[in-house]
């Protein structure tokens, strides 16, 4: 396998891009639906709960050391039962990847390229994703460094240009929607993207300087979640919670409201560019994780041979994965048990298993104690 490594800073950028990618498209609507004008508070709430998940994921990552989620699961639970768990995990990642691909395809074909068939937008996007995944995680990390500046600048532009349109009445009364609906809203954020971050366990072993990695992960959540909550806040401030809840792509609608002195208008394409870039990184992380995981699942030396066939499969899956947008919206709203199973229960199971295994190992072979401990430290 490739012995590429990424720096904690690159990892942080990937976390930010992973959080913004596709969530920025689909999260504000359900947030405003469930928590009305307090949607942004719900988003903050969800992100704060996200801190706990990151601590859990980081604990798992430290416990399993240099192994990916798949390797560790097979090690801990044995060849057969481990593979059953892995199968669920890989299916989760792969289906998630297809959903993300479909998100961008749907957006492009409904909003920007109305006459281009869905398949071709998917094929073109996948070609670039396959290219990136083939080049390895190091190159992905570096390009994240290249793009993060542009993405931040574009988002800051968006925020800046929207300031004349803000209407404070739209968020009042604050906390008026009630604590219950806010918690319900925070589930949306946990569904997408917080619980999906479990896939980062596939690339975590590639991060060097592990001591800084936890901080990078938390900081990534802070910045990425901050952007996401800001976007939600701005949607509600500019459009109002009703329009945000009704609109399929409220942020795109938001950008079309920009009008600076009558000449700087119609620049909603900026938002489209940000989406494409962030979704690209989310998809490539998912896809890389899936390919790497499937290669480890099947004991294949080099994951690169899988990239093309898996990509073809992903294009087909992304087209049949849901019949229409209405179906997808229902799915997003009721997906919590599915996500909690893959994002919380399976990793938790792995953590318990790994901890027990480590303990029995320590008891059984006291001579190995130092070695195991050192692995954990790393």
């Amino acid at each position: 396998m490739d012995n590429n490594v990424i720096s904690p800073r690159q990892f942080m950028y990937l976390v930010i891009l992973f959080l913004i990618g596709s969530s920025i498209l689909i999260v504000p609507t359900p947030l405003a639906k469930s928590a009305d004008q307090d949607g942004w508070i719900a988003s903050f709430l969800g992100m704060s709960i996200g801190v706990l998940f990151i601590l859990l994921y980081h604990k798992i990552a430290v416990t399993i050391g240099d192994r990916t989620f798949i390797e560790a699961t097979i090690d801990v639970f044995g060849k057969w039962f481990g593979r059953v768990i892995c199968f669920f995990h890989l299916a989760f990642i792969y289906i998630l990847a297809s959903l993300v691909l479909r998100n961008i395809g749907d957006f492009m074909t409904t909003q920007i390229l109305e006459e281009t068939p869905l398949q071709f937008t998917h094929i073109l996007f996948m070609l670039v994703v396959i290219l990136g995944a083939r080049l390895g995680i190091e190159v992905i990390g570096r390009s994240a460094e290249m793009f993060i500046t542009w993405i931040s600048l574009l988002l800051l532009f968006l925020f800046l240009f929207l300031t004349p349109q803000l209407e404070m009445d739209n968020v009042q009364p604050m906390f008026g929607s009630g604590i219950k609906s806010m918690i319900q809203g925070s589930f949306t954020v946990m569904n997408t993207p917080v619980l999906e971050m479990v896939v980062l366990l596939m690339i975590y072993p590639k991060v060097k300087e592990k001591t800084k990695a936890r901080q990078a992960w938390l900081l990534g959540l802070l910045i990425g979640g901050g952007f996401l909550s800001m976007i939600t806040l701005f949607s509600i401030l500019v459009l109002g919670s009703d329009l945000t809840a009704l609109n399929e792509y409220p942020v795109y609608e938001l950008a079309s409201k920009i009008n600076i002195a009558g000449f700087l208008e119609g620049i909603e394409i900026i938002v489209a560019i940000v989406w494409m870039l962030t979704i690209f990184f989310k998809l490539i992380i998912l896809y890389y994780g899936a390919a790497l995981g499937i290669a480890q699942f099947l004991n294949i030396e080099d994951y690169r041979v899988l990239l093309l066939p898996l990509g073809m499969g992903l294009i087909v899956l992304s087209i049949i994965v849901y019949p229409d947008v209405a179906y997808f919206e229902t799915f997003v709203r009721n997906v919590f048990p599915y996500k909690i199973m893959h994002g919380l229960l399976l990793p938790f199971l792995l953590l318990i298993g790994a901890l027990i295994k480590k303990k029995t190992n320590l008891k059984g072979k006291p001579a190995l104690k130092g070695k195991v401990d050192r692995n954990v430290q790393e």
């Binding site: 720096s7 800073r9 690159q10 492009m108 920007i112 390229l113 281009t116 071709f120 937008t121 073109l124 996007f125 070609l127 670039v128 290219l131 990136g132 080049l135 390895g136 190159v139 992905i140 990390g141 570096r142 390009s143 460094e145 290249m146 793009f147 000449f263 208008e265 119609g266 620049i267 394409i269 489209a272 560019i273 494409m276 870039l277 690209f280």
Partner: protein
């Protein structure tokens, strides 16, 4: 590179045909006959046989190639010495060979030869050979001297402020120009010969303890691995030593400016001078190096920074402008303010082609004009510009072949592509522009953005002699940002760029005193 290494066994030095590998015999006539036969009794081969000392009955010969040697040196310091001074020498003190080699020959560089192949090689490099009868050793005296161009003003990389001199075709002149700029005793000039038939002299220049040792070793190893019959220009070497050969982006920097090479050496890079060309290579070369000009460092830092940002902007225009125009006019008309959109639509009304065909037509025309301009003699060059500007621009619009807006787009693209200080960075931009235009015509901005992502991924995967091509941007090195997109004042450039060298980091201790 690794693949290439496996297939080839590294060889120690370039050698002539192995049939020449024989010792010099003690018989003068057979030696002369052999040399003449080897060189096919060439018309420029001069062999002057003479009796050196009647008393000792010693005879010998002076051999050189006419045109490669400095005639005056041969005349005054070899023929005269051998024919006038040696006969009067008292040969009872030392034998004739030692007498010539150690005491009488007033030449700086003297070599003792025992093998015929070395003799032939030195003869062909412009040295003068003295062979003696009854002696298995020969003397080679460095008398190289031929007509060369002399140091002239640079033609392809001109600056307003800064030295105007350029490298020449002669290796020795070039190394001297570098040495004159850097008087550090640690400046190393390693010699090499590359090419089985041309036996081209190549010099590897670096500053020891400043250049990264691994890079120097790698350069030597890659040069040693080259197996080719001839090297006529540094481009031959470039293609052999650059990292992944399948990429349109240049991974070796070349320049004909000695000051640019000196600046590179001070940053810990390694220069490769090839005999016979004024273009000197500099490795490792990073993407940002191609965006920088040596003038950035001679002008004040504020304007230097401004110009660097301007260049980056021009880079984006040169790469994306035609494709953006195609994408916006074909797919995203809503982005154009309404009055402009109406104007554009009115202009395009009579044009029979879609924007893409229009753009490709004009871009291709421009590329042809540009190539013609490079090849034509100067006198005809102005004719090309008249044809280009008036006939193809003005008349194409009037004839309704293209819209005026497209002419503007192509013109600004063309001008922007001349902004780069490095000609070889404009080449990938010229080529990639067309593929981006195809993407724009099929997928609009979506295609352009995906093309951009693929481009950045590709750039991030490249390396130049082990250094990531996009560093210090990706991987980000915060310390090095002082001299990438912006240029800090010289007293603020505290350390060498750490992406190319980790040794001897300190450059200046900052600005002190002067009346603050």
């Amino acid at each position: 590179m690794k693949r290439r290494k496996k297939n080839r066994t590294p060889k120690e030095d370039v050698q002539l045909d192995t049939s020449l590998a024989r010792a010099i015999s003690s018989d003068l006539d057979s030696n002369l006959a052999f040399i003449k036969e080897t060189l096919g009794n060439g018309s420029d081969l001069v062999t002057r046989r003479m009796t050196l000392n009647k008393k000792a009955k010693a005879s010998g010969a002076v051999i050189y190639i006419d045109g490669l040697v400095d005639k005056n040196t041969v005349q005054d310091f070899i023929l005269e010495v051998v024919m006038v001074e040696v006969p009067s020498e008292d040969l009872s003190i030392s034998p004739i060979y030692e007498a010539i080699k150690d005491s009488t020959l007033p030449i700086g560089e003297i070599y003792e030869l025992k093998q015929m192949d070395e003799l032939i090689l030195r003869l062909l490099s412009g040295e003068t050979i003295v062979v003696l009868d009854n002696e298995t050793r020969a003397i080679a005296a460095s008398t190289k001297g031929w007509k060369d161009r002399g140091v002239q003003e640079t033609t392809s990389e001109s600056v307003i402020r800064g030295p105007k001199e350029a490298f020449t075709e002669t290796l020795r002149t070039n190394t001297a120009m570098v040495r004159r700029k850097i008087k550090d005793p640690k400046l190393r000039i390693d010699a090499k010969k590359v090419g089985k038939m041309t036996v081209t002299d190549v010099s590897v220049i670096y500053i020891q303890d400043t250049a990264e040792e691994s890079v120097v070793k790698e350069v030597h190893a890659r040069l040693d691995n080259i197996d080719i019959d001839g090297v006529l220009e540094s481009g031959y070497l470039e293609e052999f030593i650059e990292d992944p050969p399948y990429s349109p982006f240049p991974k070796v920097y070349y320049t004909e400016r000695p000051d640019a090479i000196a600046a590179g050496l001070l940053e810990g890079k390694v220069a490769i001078i090839t005999d016979g060309t004024p273009n000197v290579l500099l490795v490792p070369a990073l993407f940002v190096n191609f965006m920088q000009s040596s003038e950035d460092y001679y002008q004040r830092y504020d304007i230097g920074t401004f110009i660097r940002l301007l260049r980056l902007f021009a880079f984006c225009i040169a790469l994306f402008m035609p494709s953006l125009y195609i994408a916006i006019t074909t797919f995203h008309q809503e982005m154009i303010p309404a009055p402009l959109l109406i104007n554009l639509a009115a202009q395009r009304e009579g044009v029979p082609f879609p924007a893409f065909v229009e753009a490709v037509l004009m871009e291709a025309t421009f590329e042809i004009l540009r190539e013609a301009g490079v090849r034509l003699p100067k006198a005809v060059g102005s004719a090309v510009s008249i044809v280009g500007a008036l006939v193809l621009g003005e008349s194409a619009v009037q004839a309704g072949l293209v819209s005026p807006a497209m002419v503007i787009v192509v013109a600004i693209t063309a001008i922007s592509s001349f902004v780069f200080p490095s000609y070889n960075m404009a080449i990938p931009v010229r080529m990639l522009r067309f593929s981006l235009m195809i993407l724009a015509a099929t997928f609009g901005l979506y295609g352009i953005i995906l093309g951009l992502i693929a481009l950045v991924l590709h750039l991030c995967s490249l390396q130049s002699f082990g250094v990531p091509y996009m560093s210090p941007l990706a991987p980000l090195v915060p310390k090095d940002q002082k001299d990438v997109l912006v240029r800090f004042p010289h007293w603020g450039l505290l350390s060498r760029p750490s992406s190319t060298s980790h040794q001897n980091e300190k450059r200046t201790s900052g600005r002190k005193g002067n009346g603050e």
